[in-house]
Symmetry: C2
Subunit: 145 residues, 2 copies
DNA sequence: TATTGTTATACTCTATAACTATA
DNA sequence: TATAGTTATAGAGTATAACAATA
């Protein structure tokens, strides 16, 4: 299949293609641990913000309360996260279990290693430049629902 | 919510965040035309490869035959694509209708314009560097299904 | 009144498996 | 035997809307 030249010029298309590579790679690495990119990101967010509530977690992940609910259900059933009493009677305080902490540690090395392999098409300097350009390109996303 | 430092260092995470911006922007632009990023990409691919069959299209989009089927059904019902007789009696030859050609033209300007706005956080030189780094980072994806 | 969690429900996208008709 | 299209079905993932408890 010939690629339309127009596509190649669209920055969003290039980003999508690269994202596809990295995302499917991450899914392969995370799957044996029962994790997905979103679930793993949730673990890291809870780790960095112990005691946060579900709505805040959902906002950080750009999903609504209902979806955050399902996400936390899954992580709780997997024994990685627990709901404790929150700052008032409406809210849950989310915390990693020991298993959750262990899961992050177990995944970390494999994920970094496979990303290093993917990024190896660029030399060290190029990787640095890419990181900084991507950081500059980012904006804070608006929260939903 | 505090962002975990570990996430910021993962290239895949940075790419995902940037992709999220561009993807949701593209969805907003395409929605009034009844299109999504995948559907629009399909139109451009058929435009660049008139007479291609569904399986090849699916391969280029990294979806299987069944999903390509549904995709083409939608585009056909929207009057943008038509199935003609293919090179043998098993295959369909996909072609854009006049409406399909018009849809691409209508979308093109708005999409490029909104991407320009998103990319404007980088100057011209930085955009060029980013494009070339992303192109270099890409690999051809394996086909599925 | 507003917010948090929750539940029920539905929609979209994609995959798998099996069928058919061709090759 | 293998391939293209098709169909039925199921599974993620997410959204909307409404409800209860609490603020």
């Amino acid at each position: 299949m010939k690629r339309p030249a127009e596509l190649e010029r669209l920055l969003g298309y290039q980003i999508q293609m690269v994202h596809l590579d990295f995302d499917s790679n991450a899914r392969d690495v995370l799957a044996p641990f029962g994790l997905t990119p979103v679930r793993f990101t949730a673990l890291l967010l809870i780790d960095a913000n112990p005691g946060c509530d579900q709505t805040a977690l959902g906002r950080a992940l750009s999903v609504n309360r209902s979806s955050a609910m399902k996400l936390v259900n899954g992580l709780e059933q997997a024994g990685l996260v627990e709901r404790r009493a929150g700052r008032d009677l409406r809210t849950n305080a989310l915390h990693l279990t020991d298993e959750g902490v262990a899961a992050i540690a177990a995944v970390r090395e494999r994920l970094t290693e496979s990303e290093t392999r993917l990024a190896s098409r660029l030399d060290a300097h190029e990787q640095e430049v890419l990181q900084s350009l991507l950081a500059k390109l980012q904006r804070r996303r608006a929260a939903r629902g």
